[in-house]
Symmetry: D2
Subunit: 406 residues, 4 copies
């Protein structure tokens, strides 16, 4: 039915859900590494869209190297101030000059586009950050390899070739601990923040499960202007603890202990108070690809790719595409096929080969006790095949900002 | 009547108004050098005010080294775009940490203050510059010499001591050519711009008088979004020529020829069109102290100080204070004493001496034919003495932004 | 016999050596990411040593954020040139001011130390890079959190407390594929380079094993001044292929195919020629922690930590210490205990707890068929316990540059 | 005999030598402003030479905007250290890409050339500055205006056209005070330094003459490694005082008082000690064109051009050429024509006109009492004419580094 090299096999291990010790981490959107991921990806989206608007296809670029140099700040109950601004350097390559088939020259203002996209992203993501005083955004985009400048996205029908020998990996379903870590950060940075403006965006969640006990350690940067005094601070911390504990009950029957801002020392007056809602204001540097993997989590119990997904060109950068696609495949399979307890999808590219034809698409499953791999293999294979055939839709969804990369 | 060392003497030359060849130049507020002057001075004002607000006196700082690295732009009739943003680096020293007499520690966010002041200034001064896409503002402020950190502005009664052996010079009255050059730029960047938004702020005026003929050469950066086509461009240029010619008649009876954007070549399509109203967008770098002297002009026929006035601390930076004060003295004397055709005031400091006691205040005058220096000496001396006694008011007026420095 | 929380258990999976598909990668010392790792670690060593020399203990610092912005180059057979220098920004925090117990003030020149260390490292590591023309090294080190400035390394007897809740993981023994990937890069950058100066340091090795077939894909940047023409280039590539094939036979009996510089296109004249021996000269940016893990490899078949090991303070930065220590423990156990086919050590810290007392030391083993976990548990436990007791020796060995971090 | 517009007239003032008060200043080669001037000019020479070597003519460039951001240092008797390196940013424009008449493409590595030239200059000029630890040299060269990229130096016969309406001014002979200020710095930074390595290059000399009394105020940065203690420091200062006093006797019969390092306070231990021989190491920023004029002096008693001479393209940048040429003309005239007490040459360009045809060459003289302007006019005119005819030799001498610009 297909020529794609798809393998479906039992996994060599048990389900992660069944391991004795499980460790899961998520760096929230306001963590310095995540800020870099987000800026890099937003800049990438803006560049891709600009190329489409101006020349009808996405030219060569890669912006996966944003570096954040932390500032210094003097937070204070009721409102402090940033003393030395954060310095954010957007690094990468992008095609600045292009001659189209009609011979018309195009000068694409990639630096200006990147600058605006980075500032827009910061403004939207970090409401307590004042862009006029708290951050310097700088841009250093080179011109990139001449050879590569015109190979991308010739037309929509065309499936690009892989630009590298690389590797993507995705998993499904999330374990309870993973889901809990992910949803805790999303809830705090979402609905809970809406009602509690003191919640900063630098929410870091560490989940550790030993057997059936889960410790959720949450570090939340509080925004000083919304916290008048230490009593208010304690109340905010307690509020977070309660809401997370309550949330946990929705995701697991296991025993969950929630720890919030455990490094605080109230007697010493040492608390996690910030002006801007992120530790980037004081001593915590950040860069792209150092934090969450493409599924939003750091999961040392699972295979992970070291590839930085954020900021890369989504047309033919195979590391990015295969990390996103393998995650999507895993989710699709688990959604549609009954009886899967744990599933890992690995996609391995070969340089120069069309990206819908991976060197191998390697699917490993742990089935429920009453199901065998043979029972489900055909269904799995069909979904994998269909998703691979539709690989270019990943590109469009990335450009549209529909797919998270961190 | 006073112990100040004030000398009033005939000048060694004739009045500049009577010289055969006179050359005068003004770089308008949007010229890259003037942008740097303005940013530096605005940052200085903001820092001085912040120190006064926070610790009651102006601590050591010096911000007279802003550097502008030009961008690249693609102007186009009807509206083009900046391709590579301008990079503006605010350089200097400022006291960041201060322990007051009560032992309270103060951390003054000088970098954040400088960043905001620089951006505010650009926003107000260059309406066509989009701060989100067209410019990167960066700040590198060091801590300055430890020795100097607490010597400034102890209280208002106190007259500071000179921090250097330096020199200031002022002249009055302006010659017709000087007045014409100054007012041409102010008119174009003021009332005329209000009615003609196509006028960019980068207006450069060169006046050359040979005998009784004045050539006024005006270069005006036009803002592309307000100029739909070449015909409109020509109309704008002609409008400038006419308004300047008309203005000239108010200031001189001499014969004036006005040249506008003489480097244009309409046939080649090479015209002075910009996106932002300043040549900083394309290839013209700038820095502090390279353009206009403290009276707003470059006047090679007159004594000039090389000191950069903009950005310096106005409390005890003697080069700044004496350039501003000598100009003010010259203007006061000419306003109050009849019979003066040309007057030069030089103030020479001695390091460590109170600034109201210059090493020498050297006043040279060219009198009208029917007046002698003896006739006016006492009046001149009295005014000089009073202005010196009131030297600290210069500081306050600088902090309040009332005194131009370029 | 010990109070440490050490668990020894069967692993939940088979040995990696037995998996069907295995993927292993190593970025050589001249890869842009590795350059950043190496600079960051060398700067770290220099700072730690400087603190020891000056104040007798290691003060707070963290330099794990070096960012490399690629240059542009014009390589040519026989010798080309770098056109636009590489820009290398060393980012981090370090204590600059310290008052010792005797009340003596110390100003530690951390920026100057970092600058020199970075330049020294580049000079030693990349012999074809001309530091006068090919690279700009810049430094931005902040002062770091005040709270943390004096907590480190009080005296040698003292075991520091963990600064974070973090995680380290180590494995032993290496699989054949892992060993082959590692040794290929080391051989090319070591003895082979000594005889073949055309070999640049940017050697990237990707190993893929499917069953008993191994594909080794090697990309080697050649140094143009040692390659007079295309024939010489081809000869160099063939030389690499032969030496790697020969080396492979020493490490495995499996079937190995060696691919060298597969993206070359001789007809198009497109080959992997460089001026400096690294792709950083042309379009490839780099940053810390994006490449090899602490054992020198990227191994998606194994648990990996996302923690950047290079550049971190080795006194109490638990992510760094536990990644290095777990690797060392794994190697020690495998060296001393018979019958282990695959072993994984995970160390999980708890913030505030002495680092020789991990929250859990989690040892998973795959034993040989004729050995059970019970047979070896006591021996393993004893080694783990001894290594943990000696944790501070890791710190010293890192400072002395004896432990690789990437 | 010639068509050049040359005017020779009596000056409107007396000789500067006869004025009552005269002020003269020179910032030595190690002053932060002079460092920038020197780097900018050395970079300019290197670029011009590279263009000649590679494409046979000097392409468009302008590098007159180097900015120095001061470091911090901890000097100490016997040898201290730089704590935070100086940051030197070379700014400008230069043509990076050129297609010659044969259609061959040239990529000129202007950034690498500028980097090397800047570092070479620092190494040669500031022997106590360690380039591995004490300074970061960065480069930001833009591509410059497209229109201007190919207009320069087409062939040697051709006289370029002025690129601007600008102005140059030169004077001769130097007054005694001027000569004394100039030679004091040259002696201290030359023969005296050779025997006294403690003398740093940041030597600033201020001369003030009132009537027949000259005060020479000399500030000399001493290099700490050559100054073991305060006694040695005092001996060095006294040595400078004596050698300058002795030198003065060679240049003037007037009464000269020499002041050296007057801001020192031995009791407070506050002395002018440096690690590197320049105040750039601690708090003193610098930039191009803020210090000495083209003749090496700041002379408020004389007409000065505000134009920054250093770093500009010497082929058609008229401000640079006319400042250098007017000085050379003045010196030639005074050398060859008897009876001139003071002479000023002003050259005014007109944009688009060949540079050997200034709009006006305006020569003003003060003659000896027994000579009239008429007596010498023909001789003067002849020399001016010949020098103008030979204007392009200025360009070559600048490229060869034979003409000082600051």
């Amino acid at each position: 039915m297909t020529e794609r090299n798809i393998r479906v096999q039992p996994i060599e291990r048990g389900a992660v859900e069944d391991e004795t010790v499980e460790i899961v981490e998520r760096k929230g959107v306001g963590h310095p590494d995540s800020i870099c991921d987000g800026v890099a990806e937003h800049v990438s989206e803006a560049l891709a869209q600009a190329y489409l608007d101006r020349v009808g296809k996405v030219l060569h670029y890669n912006t996966d190297e944003t570096q954040l140099v932390a500032g210094t700040a003097a937070p204070a109950f009721g409102g402090g101030e940033v003393v030395e601004p954060v310095y954010l350097l957007v690094v990468g390559r992008a095609t600045k000059h292009y001659v189209d088939e009609a011979g018309d020259e195009h000068h694409i203002p990639v630096d200006a586009i990147a600058l605006e996209a980075a500032r827009d992203y910061l403004r939207e993501t970090l409401p307590a950050l004042d862009l006029e005083t708290d951050v310097v955004v700088d841009v250093r985009l080179g011109e990139g390899s001449g050879d590569l400048q015109e190979v991308f996205g010739e037309d929509e029908q065309h499936v690009p070739e892989a630009n590298d020998t690389s590797f993507g990996v995705g998993h499904a379903p999330l374990t309870e601990t993973e889901e809990l870590v992910l949803e805790t950060e999303r809830h705090l940075n979402g609905p809970y923040h809406d009602d509690n403006p003191a919640i900063g965006q630098d929410v870091k969640v560490m989940g550790k499960r030993e057997g059936d006990h889960i410790d959720l350690t949450v570090a939340v940067a509080l925004v000083d202007r919304h916290v008048p005094d230490l009593d208010a601070y304690e109340a905010e911390v307690e509020g977070v603890r309660e809401t997370v504990a309550s949330l946990a009950a929705d995701y697991t029957d296991r025993d969950v202990t929630v720890h919030v801002n455990t490094a605080d020392d109230y007697e010493e007056g040492s608390v996690y108070l910030t002006v801007t809602g992120t530790s980037a204001e004081q001593g915590d540097d950040g860069s792209v690809g150092r934090g969450n993997r493409a599924n939003g989590l750091i999961t040392p119990n699972r295979s992970m790719s070291m590839e930085a997904t954020s900021g890369k060109n989504p047309v033919n950068h195979i590391g990015k595409i295969y990390n996103l696609l393998s995650t999507q495949i895993a989710e699709s399979v688990v959604a549609d096929v009954e009886g899967i307890r744990d599933l890992r999808v690995r996609l391995l590219s070969q340089i120069g080969r069309p990206i819908d034809q991976p060197h191998v698409a390697d699917v490993h499953v742990v089935t429920d006790d009453d199901v065998t791999v043979d029972d489900i293999e055909a269904d799995v294979r069909e979904i994998v095949d269909a998703e691979l055939a539709d690989v270019t839709s990943i590109t469009q969804r990335v450009i549209d900002g529909e797919l998270g990369t961190f």
